[in-house]
């Protein structure tokens, strides 16, 4: 990392290499010392997001999906966190960056939408004040201009009568409107990277659909990079270009979304797909849950962290799953689909055992092969 690039903390200038993705995370490890010992919340995580693209991060609670993206914004208290690895935001190294530099990035070129809008908004300040605060910090404008901008943003996210609602307080907004207000707050400086942490989990389905549509429209308009963190595979399926599945602080599968959803190679991904009922699926089919519970990160299992819950451990020769952590390496379907699993023939197992159970309608009954649409998915097509 040359010092020349590091001097551009605001990230507004063109990057040294325009082909480089906007966000590059490499070997990120986040540890929290606690009374009970060291919690390794994120281990050796690498990913990147390009402008105009969306990355979906999926995992259960405690899988490290929120912790890793909070590190991108430098939101962890340095006194209680041990960070290592590197995070480049438009070429600027975030890890170890001084706080005043970070403040120039936060809310400006990188912004975040939080899960619970009621706790993320300050109850004592009006919505307009909270939206214009971020604008005034990063732009030299008067209060009046900032307010005009706040009204414009509220209008943009679809709040009716924005010039009246701008003076309202958070409690006067409904849940969906609060979430919109928070999106307006995140977008006020036209960020190039937007991190949405469970943006729709607290919302009803019809409002969720509105918010997801809004995020997609805004992304198209500003060509921003978006990270969407969720436990809902349905949201990922509709929103993300790329998907990363996380388990116990590590990426266990990573690739193009359609590829991950149609040809998953890691038993945990199979388990996630099998355990959700589908609106269009067979109503009488039994759900296939993942047995057991997510592991404690204080004392993670040896070898592959998923092995105590994995039904396919026997198919791996020797005691490999219990003793050796598998590497995140390309599977059977090319360079762009990586997985962390010892299984030698995941594609075959998926086709023979998993697919007939979770989605029999995707198998051609006459040939026993996958339907053409499914087989035709290109692993490199994002």
């Amino acid at each position: 990392m040359s010092t020349e690039i590091s001097e551009r903390p605001d990230g507004m200038a063109a990057p040294a290499d325009p082909n480089e993705p906007f966000l590059v995370v490499e070997n990120l490890t986040v540890k929290f010392p606690t009374h009970d010992g060291l919690v390794q919340a994120v281990s050796d995580l690498s990913y990147s997001v390009e402008r105009g693209k969306t990355l979906g991060i999926v995992g259960e609670s405690g899988s490290g999906k929120s912790v890793s993206s909070m590190a991108v914004l430098g939101l962890h208290d340095p006194k209680h966190t041990r960070l290592s690895g590197s995070i480049h935001v438009d070429g600027f190294e975030v890890i170890g960056a001084a706080e005043d530099r970070m403040r120039k990035i936060r809310g400006n070129s990188v912004a975040m939408i939080f899960q619970d809008a009621l706790t993320a908004l300050h109850p004592f300040y009006s919505i307009g004040d909270q939206i214009s605060e971020g604008y005034r910090i990063h732009h030299k404008v008067s209060k009046g201009e900032a307010k005009k901008r706040a009204i414009e943003m509220l209008d943009r996210v679809g709040i009716p009568q924005p010039n009246r609602r701008v003076d309202d307080y958070p409690h006067q907004f409904s849940g969906g409107m609060r979430q919109r207000a928070m999106i307006a707050m995140a977008l006020v400086n036209d960020p190039q990277l937007l991190i949405a942490d469970e943006p729709t989990t607290a919302l009803d389905v019809t409002v969720q659909a509105q918010i997801l549509d809004l995020l997609q429209d805004l992304q198209r308009e500003f060509n921003s990079a978006v990270i969407i963190i969720t436990h809902d595979l349905g949201v990922v399926a509709e929103m993300a270009d790329q998907t990363m599945v996380m388990y116990a602080g590590r990426a266990v599968e990573y690739g193009a979304t359609r590829e991950i959803l149609t040809h998953p190679e890691m038993p945990y991904s199979w388990g996630l797909l099998a355990s959700i009922p589908e609106v269009g699926g067979d109503a009488n089919a039994r759900l296939i849950p993942i047995p057991g519970t997510p592991p404690s990160l204080l004392n993670p299992p040896t070898g592959c962290a998923f092995h105590p819950r994995c039904p396919h451990v026997d198919k791996v020769p020797g005691d490999l799953c219990r003793t050796t952590l598998p590497d995140l390496v390309p599977g059977e379907r090319g360079e762009n689909h990586v997985k962390r699993c010892h299984l030698p023939n995941p594609g075959e197992i998926y086709k023979e055992e998993i697919l007939p159970e979770i989605a029999p309608d995707l198998i051609d009954p006459s040939t026993g092969e996958m339907i053409p649409e499914l087989a035709a998915v290109d692993p490199n097509d994002i």
């Binding site: 389905v205 979304t257 109503a283 997510p294 989605a359 995707l362 649409e373």
Partner: protein, 399 residues
């Protein structure tokens, strides 16, 4: 009591003996208005939140009915009215032929053991200072189901039924994960061998991989003990998986009710259609790309001052004059299908003229029409009749 025969003993727990086929639970015109008080010393009632407004449905023994809707639509209130955690403003709740809506606390006591509830949040619904043994054993003690000496063995039996280690009866809720806590809640609800379980969002607080475990457990429990379920949830996929019958609520009213296939494959109410199109679907997106969603504008209106006529009209893309003037009746349009919409029809094939005009005795704009007499047969009855209003012929069709 030496004259008591064996047959009497066996029949005793059967309660008043509702013959099978009769509904276990029949809810008729159930209404709950919560008063809104003004500030100041004299807290006068200034308005009412019309949380549940004239809901009717019926549930047979061992069946399950799903209650779907967005937050604030009154689905949780309905559940709590049936368990009598709230007192209804009006309407009847017939449980095994007895109206329990007006019973006193003391009169409710024997019925409480028949209707149990599973709560949404497994963290706040278990007392953190009580052991699991106490939590699951309390209903047994209160209702004197088993002698004191048998309480512990019964608790262990229940823990085993829900898939927990029976040796863990001495542990506290904090020692369990979310999914395990929900199992404790289920064990507590099963302790009294209820006939009806009201499950209020039983899996929405759980992780995806754990949700399936709990849904499967509830299914097993239902099959094994023949318990009827009122399954309240906002997750359409879970409801579809669990319930053969589904009711969709909007702003305190049922807008569509029917069997699973009808509601999910052929919804006739625009709100149901919007709800279904909004639910993200993994397989669809993976194979066929994105579907077009029906975009609903705005939020659910306030139940303090709901819109006139049809309550959905402020967000409905088909709303016309009649929708503001006349409330659409919940009319039966199929063997097991009721819908409350003036323009009921499958998506994209909705009629141009209100189908209800003739029934209500109004013209197409919703103004009273002297020439047509309103059909009186539109009462908001629970269950389904043998005859229904055919949308194609616009006449009542015998089955």
């Amino acid at each position: 009591m030496s004259t008591v025969t064996n047959a009497d003993v066996e029949r005793a727990p059967e309660h008043s003996g509702a013959p099978s086929g009769d509904p276990l639970l029949e809810v008729r015109d159930l209404t709950k208005y919560f008063p809104v008080k003004s500030g100041g010393v004299v807290r006068r009632t200034v308005a009412h939140v019309q949380a549940v407004d004239g809901v009717s449905f019926s549930l047979r023994k061992g069946e399950s009915l799903g209650l779907v809707g967005e937050s604030g639509c009154g689905k949780t209130t309905t559940g709590r009215l049936i368990t009598r955690l709230y007192d209804p403003t009006s309407g009847a709740i017939n449980f095994e032929g007895t109206d329990i809506s007006g019973l006193t606390r003391r009169q409710m006591m024997p019925i409480r053991s028949e209707i149990q509830m599973i709560f949404q949040d497994p963290y706040s619904s278990l007392n953190p200072r009580h052991t699991v043994g106490t939590i699951v054993g309390t209903p047994l003690r209160v209702h004197k189901m088993v002698p004191e000496k048998k309480v512990l063995p019964r608790v262990q039996e229940l823990l085993e039924v829900v898939g927990l280690n029976p040796e863990h009866y001495n542990r506290y809720p904090s020692e369990f994960s979310g999914g395990q806590r929900q199992r404790i809640g289920i064990a507590r609800a099963l302790a009294l061998q209820p006939k009806l379980l009201v499950a209020d969002e039983p899996v929405s607080a759980l992780d995806v991989s754990i949700q399936a475990q709990v849904v499967n457990l509830l299914k097993d429990v239902q099959e094994e003990f023949g318990i009827a379920f009122l399954f309240i949830a906002h997750d359409l996929a879970v409801v579809r998986h669990f319930c053969p019958d589904v009711a969709v609520m909007y702003l305190g009213k049922i807008v569509e009710i029917g069997d699973r296939e009808t509601i999910f494959e052929h919804p006739h109410h625009p709100y149901t259609q919007a709800l279904l199109s909004a639910a993200p679907d993994v397989k669809q997106a993976a194979v066929g790309g994105r579907r077009e969603r029906i975009r609903l504008e705005g939020d659910v209106p306030s139940p303090i001052n709901p819109p006139s006529g049809c309550r959905f009209r402020t967000r409905c893309w088909m709303a016309q004059e009649i929708c503001a003037k006349q409330e659409p009746p919940l009319m039966q349009i199929g063997k097991k299908h009721k819908v409350a919409c003036h323009f009921a029809g499958e998506y994209g094939q909705q009629p141009d003229r209100p189908v209800t005009a003739g029934l209500l005795g109004v013209d197409d704009q919703g103004n009273p029409d002297g020439g047509v007499a309103p059909v009186q047969d539109l009462h908001n009855a629970p269950g389904f009749a043998d005859t229904w209003f055919d949308l194609n012929t616009k006449s009542v069709t015998p089955s």
